[in-house]
């Protein structure tokens, strides 16, 4: 019994130490709760950094909420419920699933907490504003860059994201819209890679087996594009690959000539703008209700700006944002 009592005391002390050191200190300014989908995709890490950057510039504070099980719907719902107790001043929200999270947003509405929606557009609930990209148009712009590179003819394959995810559906729709415009381009296959590198790698390997001639690969995100590149390298085959998101890894691959281009999703900027709008809304300053970043593509000609770690970037001021969008 003595041994377990000692252990109990030790446990108490240890857990108190851990919790006290990680509990954030109260600061002046508003508290913004930022919800992202998971801990593993650098896309959302970029968003978290963007939100922190914006808040710091405007003298506000950010608390991050991320499900421990990646993309877990019940966990994000629980986080929302916990947040209605804690009552931050506002919420910047990326839904794990754009349909299933609607009741959660309605809970926030009922609690009087304003919600700014970024990245995946919610299918319901009241929001103050939406900041994101038009996934269809980004898909189209990216596909166009591939079409130009293969001279408007040849065989292509599509690597889709997670089935049921709105960004995957929209980006793939963009791809398909462009492919239809080129009668000499044949779509051999369209397979889900779950937005994951290993999945895409193995799917690509299998596609390389069934199709001896593949000229282009359209991947719905960069992780899958890189996976496809690895598969091509492994099989000593060549094809032009494009991705979407503009992650650091994609930029490196563009530099190395392995990736043709990456559709710009600029998660850092999405979160910047979303957080700035949330803070401005609280301070009763004018905002815009919808900001869709202009579709663009990162390639060999313009990657320099994105060739630095996201922490080194800085959120623009509101005047600049309003002028550009």
């Amino acid at each position: 019994m003595g041994e377990s009592m000692r252990l109990c005391h030790l446990l108490l002390a240890a857990s108190a130490a851990v919790l006290i050191s990680s509990a954030t200190a109260m600061a002046d300014g508003e508290t913004i709760a930022v919800f992202t989908k998971n801990l593993t995709n650098p896309f959302f890490q970029n968003e978290r950094v963007g939100a922190e950057n914006a808040a710091k510039q405007l003298n506000a504070k950010v608390i991050q909420y991320t499900p421990t099980k990646p993309d877990s719907i019940p966990e994000q719902l629980s986080e929302i419920e916990d947040v209605t107790i804690k009552k931050p001043n506002a919420v910047v929200f990326v839904p794990v699933d754009y349909k299933a999270m609607v009741p959660g947003v309605e809970k926030l509405n009922a609690a009087g907490i304003p919600v700014v929606n970024i990245t995946d557009h919610l299918a319901g609930g009241k929001i103050v504003a939406f900041v994101g990209i038009n996934d269809v148009q980004v898909g189209m712009t990216t596909a166009e860059s591939l079409m130009k590179a293969i001279g408007g003819k040849g065989n292509v394959v599509i690597l889709e994201g997670v089935k049921g995810s709105i960004s995957s559906q929209d980006r793939v729709k963009g791809f398909n819209d462009v492919i239809k415009k080129y009668p000499d381009v044949k779509l051999l296959a369209s397979q889900p890679g779950n937005f994951q590198r290993l999945n895409a790698l193995q799917v690509m390997e299998n596609l390389l087996q069934s199709h001896p001639q593949i000229n282009g690969v359209l991947a719905a995100n960069d992780a899958m594009a890189i996976g496809a590149i690895e598969a091509l390298d492994g099989a000593s085959r060549k094809a032009i690959v494009v991705g979407i998101n503009g992650t650091k890894e994609a930029v490196d691959a563009i530099k190395a000539g392995k990736l043709l281009s990456s559709g710009q999703a600029d998660p850092f900027m999405q979160a910047c703008i979303g957080t700035i709008i949330a803070i401005r809304h609280l301070r009763k300053l004018p905002i815009k209700q919808e900001i869709i970043l202009k579709p663009s593509v990162i390639d060999k000609s313009n990657f320099q700006e994105f060739d630095k770690p996201v922490e080194a970037r800085s959120c623009p001021k509101w005047e600049e944002i309003a002028a550009n969008n």
Binding site: M1, E3, S4, L7, C8, L11, L12, S15, A16, V18, L19, I20, S22, A23, T24, L39, I63, Q64, Y65, T66, P67, T68, K69, D71, S72, I73, P74, L77, S78, E79, E81, D82, V83, T84, I85, K86, K87, D97, K99, A100, M101, V102, P103, A123, V162, K163, G164, P192
Partner: protein
């Protein structure tokens, strides 16, 4: 592997547990005190009510899991089954407009699936781990195939009552969970079936010699698991106001952790039903408290694992001491 022990009536097991303070109770008290002191919002009735409601679905699953583990079995397919049941519930509701039909469909699915599990385990003699790992894949696959990866939406608003509604001020999910608890309690401690469940875990031979159809009993336990998933399905569906093919994936592991936390052993079928309740609430309190303290998610992940290990270590110390 098991010695022939005298048939242990569950009541006796319960008394010996209470006599020494279980590890999970210590954990729970420590966490409540810690969070109560460090986080102002924690102790409010709104928050505590939230924790209970959030834990309700897991508790319903964990109660059935307790019974299954007491038979020295396990059910890895529960999370996937709950997900599938939610999908069937939502689809039936959309098609027929009737809550009763939807619940009936979910129950039918749960019973059929539970029967499949039970049959494979009791009659075909396939180890529970393997069987339920296989049926996990089947349920998950069916969820994906039926929905093609899309959420099912467009459900009537009234669906949400099952999660958000209250009866006499008590949240509906808590009522359902409490009713399930008392049902299981009655089943386990007041019926011959309950004695049978303990015996299935500790001394199956004695059961057979007593003339009881142990295979039928084992199947029934797994059917109960399916029924639990079916009961939890409307609650989960109400929570999301939709059905999603990955909604409850992995929940069975949380349930198993809660059962183990609560003191039910994997071997010899010693079980404590209320321990499972404490286990579920402890996990819920931990997550809630860490969220309120804005502890980074990565640390939260490690904390949950740490908690499970420590609680079981404490239990191991105590049982060594006897």
């Amino acid at each position: 592997m098991t010695d022939t022990t005298i048939l242990d009536r569950p009541k006796k097991a319960r008394l010996t547990w209470i006599a020494r303070v279980p590890g999970v109770a210590v954990m729970l008290v420590v966490l409540l005190a810690l969070f109560g002191v460090m986080s102002p919002g924690f102790g409010t009735s709104a928050n505590l009510s939230n924790v209970l409601v959030q834990s309700a679905i897991l508790l319903i699953i964990a109660l059935a899991m307790t019974l299954i583990i007491m038979t020295e079995g396990i059910d890895l397919s529960m999370g996937a089954l709950l997900t599938l049941a939610t999908i069937i519930y939502a689809a039936t509701l959309l098609a027929s407009g009737s809550f009763v039909m939807a619940l009936a469909a979910a129950l039918a699915l749960g019973i059929a699936f539970g029967f499949l599990n039970g049959w494979l385990i009791a009659v075909a003699d396939i180890p529970p781990f393997v069987t339920t790992l296989g049926t996990l894949g089947v349920a998950q696959g069916l969820s994906l195939i039926v929905t093609d990866g899309q959420s099912i939406v467009g459900l009537p608003r009234s669906v949400q009552f099952a999660y958000a509604g209250t009866v006499l001020g008590i949240p509906f999910p808590v009522i359902v969970a409490v009713v399930c608890y008392f049902l299981c309690y009655w089943l386990l401690y007041q019926t011959r079936f309950g004695i049978g469940i303990s015996a299935l875990g500790g001394n199956r031979e004695a059961l057979r010699q007593a003339g009881v159809n142990d295979k039928l009993m084992l199947i029934a336990v797994y059917v109960l698991g399916g029924v639990a998933a079916a009961i939890a399905a409307p609650l989960l569906c109400a929570r999301m106001n939709s059905a999603h093919p990955t909604a409850a994936i992995g929940m069975e592991f949380d349930a198993i952790a809660a059962v183990a936390l609560g003191g039910t052993q994997f071997e010899r079928g010693n079980g404590w039903l209320f321990g499972t309740v404490l286990g579920v609430i402890t996990i819920g309190v931990l997550r809630n408290g860490l969220n309120l303290l804005a502890v980074p998610s990565s640390v939260q992940v490690a904390c949950v694992g740490f908690l499970v290990i420590v609680a079981l270590f404490l239990d191991g110390l105590r049982s060594k001491g006897t």
